[in-house]
């Protein structure tokens, strides 16, 4: 197996290659505004580092969020298109799960990423591999009771120390962790989710006040 993994659901643009045994190359950059520009060159770099060609890839794994939509879609569109061009399966992995896996805390904990608008995407975990709740989006103050006393992981937790006083590494997701988790699940014969985004919020869909004009004025 040669698994190419990527995630753009957080400010990190992260890519990794996993050969079924271990991660053979990876690259991560944190730049929330440039997912679209950075992702494909990162894929190219990771392949070059590993001395491998794209057509050797047998599986793709992609973070399905939750995460800010514009960036999230870059990773999903890229993974889906690679799957189409290469004719290989594309597996979805919840981005929070990859963070939990990387944190590898012994007991129960919570993962929280930045959902902007003063909210976090979050879920509770029993351990690194076991999620207890569906990913959700909430204001930190509204979930204080549900996360009280639990260590927390992720950039979302760092933003709200009142709700998450005990924050652990890592801050951002890495495709290396996502690749390991996906490889582990695939080796166990698990069915991974489809590569479709976890939006959690409905689109902001009121009538636009100023009709969206395609051409700048």
């Amino acid at each position: 197996m040669l698994l190419l993994a990527l995630d753009t659901a957080t400010p990190a643009v992260t890519v990794a290659l996993h050969d079924g045994g271990e991660v053979v190359a990876s690259a991560s950059q944190v730049d929330a505004r440039r997912h679209g520009e950075l992702l494909l060159p990162a894929v190219d770099r990771v392949l070059a580092d590993a001395g491998l060609k794209l057509d050797a890839v047998t599986d793709l794994a992609v973070g399905i969020g939750p995460g800010p939509y514009t960036g999230l879609r870059v990773g999903l569109m890229t993974a889906q298109t690679l799957g189409l061009a290469l004719g290989v399966p594309v597996h979805g992995v919840c981005t929070l799960d990859a963070l939990a896996y990387a944190a590898d805390l012994p007991g129960p904990f919570v993962v929280a990423t930045d959902a902007r608008r003063k909210e976090v995407y979050w879920a509770r975990y029993a351990d690194a591999r076991t999620r207890l709740t569906d990913p959700a989006v909430d204001r930190p103050g509204d979930i204080a009771d549900q996360v009280a006393g639990l260590p927390a992981v992720g950039a979302g937790a760092l933003l709200y120390p009142e709700t998450f006083p005990d924050v652990h590494e890592p801050e951002h997701v890495s495709a290396a962790a996502l690749a390991c988790l996906a490889a582990e699940r695939l080796a166990r014969g698990e069915e991974l989710p489809a590569p479709r985004p976890l939006y959690l919020r409905r689109p902001d869909a009121q009538v636009p006040k100023n009709y969206k004009v395609v051409t700048p004025k």
């Binding site: 494909l40 870059v74 009709y211």
Partner: protein, 353 residues
């Protein structure tokens, strides 16, 4: 037109607004034009909702590419290039198409061409009427744009002559349709009602047509307000609104200005060809009046069939094929979506190009 087997085979992707378009052309021959539209999802909001459009593009992209390849009967590995709308358009929507096109080109080992949406609207006419005359005057009218452009080479030289200073023409159609309670999008429904109405029933204003006004710019905001006020006054007086006459008179005011200015630009620049593109080019009265005025002025009118006038991938492929044919440099893998890509940049060459 006979298919030239040596001409470049290009797949084009368009996601600047609410249509996910994937087209395939060989040179100036159309092989496939697959479009998935999210227009129904926007209808209840009375306008295109960017996030709804972006979600729909992601959903539709892979199936639409597959459909286009099947329709064209070609294999992806035979393509000579991948073209994509790099801008202008809705940033989030563009980004979905750019991500797909970049990745597809990279995975297939093909050159990538990020191209301009407006230049694509002009270039699509090659699929209908053969190579564009040089220079060509183009009137582009849609829900997003209203521009008069002069191009001597569609891959490298597009000059803006004029543009709307406020609303796009199609936007005015949408707004008047909303005031009349006819739904979204407004263009086709206004056209339908107008056919049974009197275009001279109400004298609505013609924006920017005074002697001191800019010769080639447009303004539809004043017209829109005048029509809305007229309708409200009728309603306030407890009278029935003559929907057909309002539609016909409003439409006449729009197409009168558009065609008058387009023909004038042709005459001033000594250009004997006018092409009309964009969604509003599907309007039957615009086509008829342009035909009449161009004939009177000795100008040859070129208007592609309606399906090629609205946003689609074939137009992007058409311009991409022209980029390949003329040896223009490809874009690089860092290509980004540019929601305000200037019309003067028909494509976005890579750093090395």
């Amino acid at each position: 037109m006979a298919e030239n087997r040596d001409a470049p085979l290009v797949l084009g992707i368009e996601t600047s607004c609410d249509e996910t378009g994937v087209g395939i052309v060989r040179g100036t021959t159309l092989l496939a034009d697959a479009v998935a539209s999210s227009v129904d999802e926007h209808a209840r909001f009375g306008g295109v909702v960017p996030e709804v459009a972006s979600r729909a593009h992601l959903e539709a992209m892979v199936p639409t590419i597959e459909r286009a390849l099947k329709e064209a009967g070609v294999s992806a590995k035979d393509l000579d290039g991948i073209a994509v709308t790099a801008g202008p358009g809705l940033a989030g929507a563009l980004l979905v198409g750019v991500s797909a096109a970049k990745t597809y080109a990279y995975a297939l080992g093909k050159p990538l061409y990020g191209v301009n949406h407006l230049a694509s609207h002009i270039c699509v006419d090659q699929l209908e009427h053969g190579p564009l005359p040089e220079p060509t005057m183009a009137l582009l009218v849609s829900g997003g744009h209203s521009s008069l452009l002069l191009s001597s080479d569609i891959t490298s030289d597009v000059r803006p002559m004029g543009a709307t200073i406020d609303d796009a023409a199609g936007e005015a159609f949408d707004k008047i349709a909303r005031v009349l309670g006819l739904g979204f999008p407004g263009g086709p429904v206004i056209d339908r009602y107008a056919r049974e109405g009197d275009p001279d029933a109400i004298a609505f204003p013609r924006g920017l047509t005074g002697p001191r006004d800019p010769a080639y710019d447009f303004s539809f905001s004043g017209l829109k307000t005048a029509v809305a006020r007229w309708i409200e006054a009728k309603r306030a007086a407890g009278e029935e609104v003559p929907v057909r006459d309002v539609a016909a008179s409003f439409q006449e005011a729009v197409v009168d200005v558009l065609t008058r200015k387009a023909v004038r630009a042709c005459k001033d620049e000594g250009v004997d060809h006018l092409m009309i593109g964009g969604g509003v080019a599907a309007n039957s009265r615009l086509r008829a009046l342009a035909e009449e005025r161009c004939a009177a002025a000795g100008i040859r009118l070129r208007v592609p069939r309606p399906k090629l006038c609205t946003d689609n991938g074939a137009m992007v492929a058409a311009l991409g094929a022209e980029m390949v044919a003329r040896g223009r440099p490809a874009s690089d893998w860092e290509l980004s979506a540019d929601s305000s890509l200037p019309v003067t940049e028909p494509h976005v060459p890579g750093e090395g190009g």
